[in-house]
Amino acid sequence: MRESARDLLRQYDKKFPLKHAGEIYADTTDIVRIGYGDVIELAGLHYLVLRDEIERRFGVEDVKYWVKRCRCLETNQSKILKLVFHETFPQKFGDAEILCYRSEQKEARILDMVRGDARFMQGFSAPDAAGNLVRVLDVIRGKRLDLTVEDIDADHETYFHDHLPGLLRDWAGACRAIASLHSRDEKHGDIRRDHLWIDYKSGGYTWIDFDFTFDCVESPFGLDILGLGNSLVFLAGKADLTPGVIAETFGERALDSLCPQDFSLFFRNRLVNLRTIYPYVPQSLNNVLMHFSAASEVFYESVDELLGDLMPAVEDIDRA
């Protein structure tokens, strides 16, 4: 007779309240049905489901029903299991629209490609009983880059001189990690500042979530570079400098000196031309930022181009 989840839990996890024991799922197709107390059977191991992962962004909590926080019963290790969830949707970036989609194959391929490279989340993929390619991911013990920056207790000028140069050098390492993907004809696909984590122990930067992709032939890495640019503007500003934030910090009159070209090409309410409000931002850094502004006529096509301009600008911050 086939083991039940209750049998497994009794054997491997004596502390788990058996009244919550659920079902064993070898087929993970029904992602919403699988929840707390269920056990996912995959590649000869059993993963107790503890909860669905939640993404917190812009103050909103988004439950990711296809991403399960688990504990492997046999090894007692915490793991994140990403189940197959296909979604295809057009995403607007300014007046441009890109067809984005989620691909388990892409993420599995990149996991294989970056195995042992701590700049990327680690894990493996395995098909479940129905052939769904499940990704089994190590849990990162660290903190999101954006939260790390937001939690630095300093005014902008102090932050800019005392913290930013180090942050940018580390961030440049993360950019080189992305360049290493591009050199192998792969893209991250969903570069956001909350998809970059800083490891508590090593301080290393680690990218997560590679399952998004998009179809852009002539500029295959354009969306990745846009993501890096958005992150860079955030790092340099220590916040998203929206008109509301600017008015609150500098007074309403500060807005009078700004024009639409000072803001992001893609997010028209985010200030990019930081020198207008922070005059100690070196021209060299501001020039890099302005590549992502509505005023720009030339755009970075590669990570190397971006870093080629950014690294001298970091030296300029040090000298200032």
């Binding site: 992709t213 179809d215 755009f299 096509e301």
Partner: protein
């Protein structure tokens, strides 16, 4: 590079048709000219499809569309007065497409613009004709612009950008 040897970059867009119509008006049946139609396959991304069979089917469909577009462009040129004997057509499959198996030459797909220029150079074409989409800044950032990149990178040849 012979300026009378013209390469027309062809895809399934209206821009390519405009480029062909313009070239036909300029060249007509003038002796000494030759027109090379070049189509570089852009297959749909493999990751968009659940399995290889679905991707192969999509690639076949895309190839059919692009070959049909190339045929239509040739018809535009002939209707515009260019003798069929002055026109040659090349279809280069993508290296990423299952259709490329066994092909002598395939397109790496990293930059359509640079591959067009490489092909023109190899064929000794002194004039490159390309249609222009007319993209916004945001679109150029995200998608790139084949015509802009051709203009920026062309050497020893003339580029006609047809808007």
């Amino acid at each position: 590079m012979d300026p009378k040897k013209m390469l027309i970059a062809v895809d399934a867009s209206e821009n390519a048709q405009r480029a062909a119509e313009y070239a036909a008006r300029i060249v007509g049946a003038t002796p000494g000219f030759s027109l090379t139609l070049l189509t570089l396959e852009r297959p749909p991304e493999r990751d968009l499809y659940k399995d290889d069979a679905a991707h192969r089917a999509a690639c076949q469909a895309r190839e059919g569309e692009m070959r049909a577009a190339q045929g239509a462009i040739k018809a535009v040129l002939v209707a515009g007065g260019v003798p069929a004997g002055m026109i040659s057509a090349h279809y280069v499959a993508s290296c990423k497409s299952p259709q490329a198996e066994g092909a002598d030459q395939c397109s790496l797909g990293q930059s359509i613009a640079l591959e067009i220029l490489d092909f023109a150079k190899a064929q000794g074409c002194g004039t490159v004709v390309v249609g222009r989409r007319g993209v916004s800044k945001a679109e150029e950032f995200l998608f790139g612009s084949v015509s802009s990149k051709i203009v920026h990178n062309a050497k020893n040849c003339t580029v006609w950008v047809i808007s």
